[in-house]
Amino acid sequence: MTTKLQLLILVFALATVIGCGGGHQADQVQGPLRVVATTSIVGDLARSIGGDVIELDTLMGAGVDPHLYKPSAGDVRVMASAQMIVYSGLHLEGKMTEVLAEMGTRGVETVEVASCVPAESLLAVEGYDTLHDPHVWFDVGLWQHAAACLRDALIRVDPENANGYQERGDAVITEFADLDVWVRERVAALPENRRILVTAHDAFSYFGRAYGMEVRGLLGVSTAAEAGTGDVQALAAFIADRGLPAVFIESSVPPRYVEALTEAVVARGGDVLIGGSLYSDALGSPGGPAETYVGTVRANVDTIVGALSGAGQ
C-alpha cells in the first residue's frame, strides 16, 4: 500500500486505542481511593474529609463557572477511571448532567452532596416547581449536611479507612458550626438598612436567608441566562432607591454586567461603587487565603461587611 494509506490507517488505529483506553471500571479499591470532584468547593470538602488517604482530582479550578463548564474528553476519561465522583448537584453543573448520569451507569459511585440537604430547606427557583437553587453551600449550617453525606459515602466505599473519614468528617462539621456562628455575628453588626446584597447572579439566596440579608442578582440562578435590558433597569432603580453604597462582582462571572449596572445607577443620580469581588461558584486561587471553603466564606463576609458598612454615610 502507499505510504499515505499506511499513515492514515496508523492514525485511525491510534485514535481508536486512545479513545477506548480510558473506559475501565474500578471494581475494587487498590491503593488510595480515586476521587474526582467537580467544583473547587466540593473538591475542598473532599480533601478535608478524605485527607491524604484519597487521590483527588478537581475538574474546575478557581474562577471557573460551573453553570457553563463543558467537560472535555480528558475530563470524561478522568471521571471514568475514578472510583467516586463528588459533585454539588441540583443542576449546578448544568452542562454535565448527562455525563454524570452516564458515569453512574458505568458503576462509578456518584455522590450529589447538595441533595443531602433536607428537602424542606431547599429554596425553589422562581417559576419552577421541581427545580431548586443549587447554591446551598453559602448557608454554612446547611453545608454541614453535605459534609456528613460525603463522610458517610467515603466510609461506605472505602471501609478500610472508615476511622479516618469519621474523625475528619466530624471535625469538619464542628468547624462549620463555628463558622456559621461567626458569620451570623458579623452580618448582625451591619445596620439594618445596609443588609442588602446585590451581585451578578442569584448565588447568595441561601446566604441571605440564613444570615438575614436581602439578596438580589442580575442574572437568574444560572449564569447561562442573558439578562434583558429591563432586568438591568429594574435592578438599577432598586439600588438607587435604597441608596445602596456597594454592589459586588463575582470571581467566576464577567464583571461587565455589574459595571453596566453601576453605570445605570450613576446615571440615575445614585452613588454606588463596586464593593469588591466575591467568590460565588468557585473558591479562590490556590496559595491565597481563599483557597479553602472556610477561607472563602470568611473572605466573602469580610468583603461584604467591609463595603456595606464602611462606605459613605
Binding site: 474546575m60 479550578g61 478557581a62 474562577g63 471557573v64 463557572d65 457553563l68 463548564y69 463543558k70 472535555s72 437568574g220 449564569t223 441566562a225 442573558e226 439578562a227 434583558g228 435590558t229 429591563g230 432586568d231 438591568v232 433597569q233 429594574a234 438599577a236 470571581s251 467566576s252 462571572v253 464577567p254 464583571p255 461587565r256 454586567y257 459595571e259 453596566a260 453605570e263 445605570a264 446615571a267 440615575r268 486561587s285
Partner: protein, 373 residues
C-alpha cells in the same frame, strides 16, 4: 415610562441601532452580489479570533477583542479565496467549510480556556449569543465610531460599490481596481459584523446582514432607496428589540432584536406591492382559468418557431385574432399571460413568449404528445 430618559435603554438602543444601520446598509451589497452567506461565515469565523486575543493578552477590553475578531474573519476570507482559486470547490461550499472549521476551532479554544481562573470573567461564551444588556459606554463609543466610519466609506465609494455589485468586469475595463475594492468591501463587512458580536452574538449576526436587505429589495427597484430602507429596518429592529427587552422582564435583547427583524422581513415578503406574495396571489386569483390561456400561448409559441434565430420577434394581436377561437377576449388574455410572466411586449403592440412561456408551451406539447403544430 420615560423611554429616552433611561440610561440603560439609551445605551443599548444606540448600540443596537448603530449595528442595524451598518449591517443593513452593507448587507445590501452582499445580498446583490449573491454573497449573503459571507456575513454568516465572517461572524462564525470571528470566534477563534476572540478566544486567541484573550489567550495571548488576557485582555477583555472592547477594542482588542474587536481587532482579534476582525483579523480572524479576514483570514477566513483569504482562506476561502485561496481554496476557490486553487481547487474546483465552488465559492459557497468553501465559505461553508471555512465557517465550520473556524467556528469549530473557536469552540475548541473556548473549552481549553474555560479551565483558566480568569476565563469566566472574560465572558467569552457571551459572544455566542451576545449580551446587549451589558453594553458599557466605552463599547457603544467604539461601535458608533466604527459604524459611522463604515457608512462614510460606503457613501464616498458609492458608485464603485455599485459597479462592484452589478458589473465587476466593466469596472475593471474602466481601470478601477476592482479586486482591491472587493477587499475593501469585505473589510467593511468584517467591521460591521464585529460591531454586532457583543449585541446579538456570533450565531445570530448573519440575520442582521441578510434580512434587512431581503426585506428592502421587496419594496423598491432602485439601489439608493434599497440601502436606506435596509439601514432603517436595521435601526428599527435594533431599537425596538432594546425597548421590548426593557419593558418585558427576562427577555434577552439580542434574540429579541433578531425576532423583530424576522417579523419585518415576513411582513415585507407577504405584503410588499408588486413583489409580495399576497399581491401576486390577488392578481393571479382574478385571472382567467388556465384553460383559456393555453391556446393563445400555443399560437404565439407556434409563430415564434418560425423565427428560431430571433426569440424576441413579436407578433401583433391582429395575427393572433385570426388564429384564436372566436369570442375570446384577446386583450384580456394577453394581459393575463403577461401577468403570469409567460409573454412580454417586445415592441408597439407586438408580443412574444418569454423563456418561461416557451417552457410552458413545450411542456404542453409533451403532455399532448403532439409534434410540431
Amino acid at each position: 415610562m420615560d423611554f429616552l430618559g433611561d440610561y440603560t435603554l439609551r445605551i443599548v438602543a444606540l448600540g443596537s441601532g448603530v449595528l442595524g444601520a451598518a449591517a443593513g446598509a452593507l448587507g445590501c451589497f452582499a445580498y446583490l452580489r449573491r454573497q449573503s452567506l459571507v456575513g454568516d461565515a465572517l461572524s462564525h469565523a470571528a470566534l477563534p479570533g476572540i478566544a486567541l486575543v484573550f489567550l495571548l493578552t488576557g485582555s477583555k477590553a472592547p477594542l482588542p477583542i474587536m481587532i482579534g475578531a476582525a483579523l480572524a474573519g479576514w483570514i477566513a476570507t483569504l482562506a476561502v479565496r485561496l481554496v476557490v482559486r486553487r481547487s474546483r470547490v465552488p465559492y459557497d461550499s468553501a465559505l461553508g467549510m471555512a465557517l465550520a472549521v473556524f467556528f469549530g476551532f473557536g469552540l475548541v479554544l473556548l473549552t481549553l480556556i474555560q479551565k483558566r481562573p480568569d476565563a469566566a470573567q472574560a465572558g467569552l461564551e457571551s459572544f455566542l449569543f451576545g449580551q446587549a444588556a451589558s453594553l458599557l459606554r466605552e463599547d457603544v463609543v467604539v461601535m458608533s465610531a466604527l459604524g459611522a466610519a463604515c457608512l462614510v466609506v460606503l457613501a464616498l465609494l458609492w458608485k464603485e460599490f455599485k459597479l462592484l455589485s452589478f458589473d465587476t468586469e466593466f469596472g475593471e475595463s474602466l481601470g478601477r481596481p476592482m479586486r482591491r475594492l472587493d477587499g475593501l468591501f469585505t473589510l467593511l463587512l468584517v467591521v460591521a459584523v464585529v460591531i454586532g458580536l457583543r449585541t446579538v452574538g456570533v450565531v445570530l449576526m448573519s440575520a442582521m446582514v441578510v434580512a434587512p436587505a431581503a426585506a428592502a429589495r421587496q419594496v423598491t427597484d432602485r439601489l439608493a432607496p434599497m440601502v436606506i430602507i435596509a439601514a432603517a429596518i436595521g435601526v428599527f429592529s435594533g431599537v425596538t428589540g432594546a425597548v421590548l427587552s426593557s419593558v418585558i422582564p427576562h427577555l434577552p435583547t439580542g434574540p429579541t432584536i433578531v425576532l423583530v427583524l424576522s417579523t419585518v422581513v415576513v411582513i415585507s415578503l407577504v405584503f410588499a406591492p408588486k413583489r409580495g406574495l399576497l399581491w401576486r396571489w390577488i392578481r393571479l386569483g382574478r385571472l382567467q382559468p388556465a384553460a383559456a390561456l393555453d391556446p393563445v400561448l400555443m399560437h404565439l409559441y407556434a409563430l415564434s418557431l418560425q423565427h428560431p434565430e430571433e426569440p424576441d420577434h413579436g407578433h401583433g394581436l391582429a395575427v393572433l385574432r385570426t388564429m384564436s377561437p372566436t369570442g375570446a377576449d384577446l386583450e384580456r388574455v394577453i394581459g393575463d399571460l403577461e401577468a403570469r410572466g409567460l409573454v412580454s411586449a417586445v415592441g408597439e403592440g407586438l408580443w412574444a413568449p418569454t423563456p418561461i412561456g416557451r417552457r410552458e408551451a413545450e411542456r404542453n406539447l409533451d403532455r399532448e404528445g403532439e409534434v410540431g403544430s
